[in-house]
Amino acid sequence: MFSSLLRGSTIALRTASARSALRPVAAISRTSLVSPLRAYSTGLNRDDISARVIDVVKAFDKTTASAQVTADTHFAKDLGLDSLDTVELLVAIEEEFDVEIPDKVADEIKSVAEAVQYIASNPEAN
């Protein structure tokens, strides 16, 4: 009689523990529905970004051919680009990485380093 009681209690315990084990799983799936966490790629390597940005800058037809484009190149000071040229260059960079740089941010990007910094911070860049 006692044994059956004990058995009953262990079953009750087991189901209780099973339920409590299930609960966090349900909670996780619910939160993941609220904010889907997607990982398309492992993220871009900073050196790759830098190399690609430099390539885009070099391909830009208003960049003077002799100019050395490095990671610290400033668009206006080193390449002699005006604000319209800078916008064109940013559109080219946007195309390369498939992103859209918001106007407020785009206003602040004035050098290769800043462009690389923005692309690196943007999870949608690829």
């Binding site: 885009v56 391909a59 319209l84 916008v87 080219a92």
Partner: protein, 93 residues
């Protein structure tokens, strides 16, 4: 009445370029890119606020047309021109 700010003009220029880039057809695309470049550059020294305002709103209307046409162009496929690279990515413009 104050004219559009520098940021607004640059934003308009960027939108125009981006929508021109959306054209599927090489000839249209490069026509609109050239057109945007020369138009904005020709008017960059404009000083009179009224003239700036006028040019700005004209460019805004054109952007509207450009947006619509570039979307329409994406509904039709064209054969690629010989000068275009065949793979999707292109850094050369």
């Amino acid at each position: 009445m104050t004219g559009p700010s520098r940021t607004q003009v640059l934003a308009l220029y960027k939108q125009t370029l981006r929508n021109a880039n959306g054209f599927n057809n090489y000839n249209f695309k490069h026509y609109f890119l050239r057109k945007a470049r020369t138009q904005f550059r020709d008017l960059k020294d404009l000083k009179d606020p009224a003239a700036i305002e006028k040019a700005f709103s004209a460019a805004q209307r054109e952007l509207g047309v450009l947006k619509r046409q570039s979307v329409i162009s994406q509904m039709y496929t064209f054969d690629k021109q010989v000068v275009e690279p065949l793979d999707g990515k292109k850094t050369q413009r």
